[in-house]
Amino acid sequence: MFQLTRPLTRRALCAALLALAALPAAAQTRIVTDDTGREIALPENPARVFAAGPPAATLLYTLKPQAMVGWVSAPDPEDRPWLRPETAELPGLGRLTGRGDTLNLEVLLAADPDLIVDYGTVNPTYTDLAHRIQEQAGLPYVLIDGSFARLPRGIRAMADLLAVPERGEELAAYAEATLAEVDAILATIPEDQRPTVYLARGREGLETPARGSINAEIIERVGARNVAEAETRGLATVSPEQVQAWAPEVIITIDADFAANVAGMPEWQGVPAVDNGRVHLAPAVPFGFIDAPPSVNRLIGLKWLMHKLYPTAVQGDLRAEVADFYELFYGVRPDEAGLKALLGG
């Protein structure tokens, strides 16, 4: 008798356990197909979300800050006043994909997320990484295409995953309006009146994202011509002589030291942008205007660049637009002192 019943009880126990485990899951998950084409089961209303890289973290912050379990890297002290207070103190957990893979999966699991989102390049490497981490960590990992051209669509797709469709619609509509406004203005400006631009990075200003690089996309989106045509689609280091030969009409930089010093640097004399005082420092808090990260934060960069590149053609109050953007996307409205710190003047 003992011999007979034991396998039965064990089987019954297993079935009961499986049913218990499956019940809540069946009630709360749904299946989505992400931009890698994988079908993924994820929670109906994700409450603890981990962003795999800086672009995803910024998008997650703008859409559903209350669901963040951490940042990729902890915000710098100068970023904190510009972030919602409840997110400013969240820890930096590390990044999952891309250069410098710094996250220990155990740290990730200790943060107890129910969803991992990534926003950026979709290629076989990232697709495979998403798949591997999903298998290894046992967590749904969703990758959304982060290309600039599909920004409104990316916002809506991410908002849908995070179960905040109204918020997504609000931000996506802003993105669509901004892009349409840029196109409307560009239609009035002939090609030959659009300036050549050099994007300067680093203290010496000699690192530059070449044409085709994700860090320089925004330059082409506002109709300007990035002078840095090099053998890479990434970050190139060039000589000052090369910059002299390119003779850019406008220089956009993300380095405050370079912006402050370039007028006195002998090797930059004679560059039209420097001679004509058209060197502009892109604001960088809490997220960059140009890139760093290449995410929704670039929408305000578009407006800022239009004002800087086409001062006569562009109407409107840049300060008010920046304040509105910060309030809508970041949940923090800058006051007069804040705007002055951001935009200068």
Binding site: R201, T237, P240, E241, Q244, E267, G270
Partner: protein
Amino acid sequence: MDERALNTALVGALLAVLILGAAIGPFALSPARIAAVLTGDRSDSQAVTVLLNIRLPRVLAAAIVGAALAAAGAAYQTTFRNPLVSPDILGVSAGAGFGAVLGLLLGLPVVAIQMLGFGMGLLTVALVIALTLALRGAGQVLIMVLCGIAIGALAGAGISLVKLLADPEQQLPAITFWLMGSLAGVKRADLAAALPALLIGLAPLLALRWRIGLLAMGDDEARAMGVDAGRLRLLVIACATLMTAAAVAMAGVIGWVGLMVPHMARLLTGPRFDRMLPAAILIGAGFMVLVDTAARTVATLEVPLGILTAVLGAPIFVLLLARGARPWSE
């Protein structure tokens, strides 16, 4: 070829590559315009900026960096009686590299980064010497070299740690690029800052080159000729370290030149250090100017010098080896 004719030929070749380096670059300047600027014509301010603030300082910097690395390598190979030795054997490049990438990580001004690199290079070698003395290995070259390898490995670990901690978007590309060596950002002020250390290091090597050559025969032989081998070796190390640290602080880590150029010189002059050193200095300067000219002209983006010294240097080196005998064996 006798010594005087050889050195005259090498000086002529160096002048030719200096002119070549001054004549070509991404900013188009006609030879007539260059000649006009050099003879005092200041009417075209753009040409003046390009030539006097950018191109010429860079060509001269390449020449002195090449000369310094070649001289340091030649002195080390003779002093340590080993043809495989390069100027970074006692850890100066790794130490200077660590100092500089630390400066990049901390976001220091460029001058501070250079000073930190220079200082850490000197400190690393000082540490190696102190360690050698503490181990009572002053007379033993092997102990000194092993100490250098150990401390150099520590500095290398420090570099890896800095790379790990660096911001992958902003700092890591700069650090990686710096570690491959480049003169892209060189200014006149950098040249002026590095020149004293290079001259102070080079002068004793040139003045004492005959005595230093005696070290190649072994310490006992040198002593029999009236040379205190231990003290002379320390002097050579101090001079070579000073030059290498200054070169690395200005141009980043450039491999190959210090190892290869002395061999090229030796194939032309034979193994005697007093004859080989001037040839090595001239070849090193000329080779580096050529390499740097390639670095700023073969592509729109700057090609790191470390890549080009190997790509250009390795085939030349093998070719020379195939043609010559084994010139370092007496």
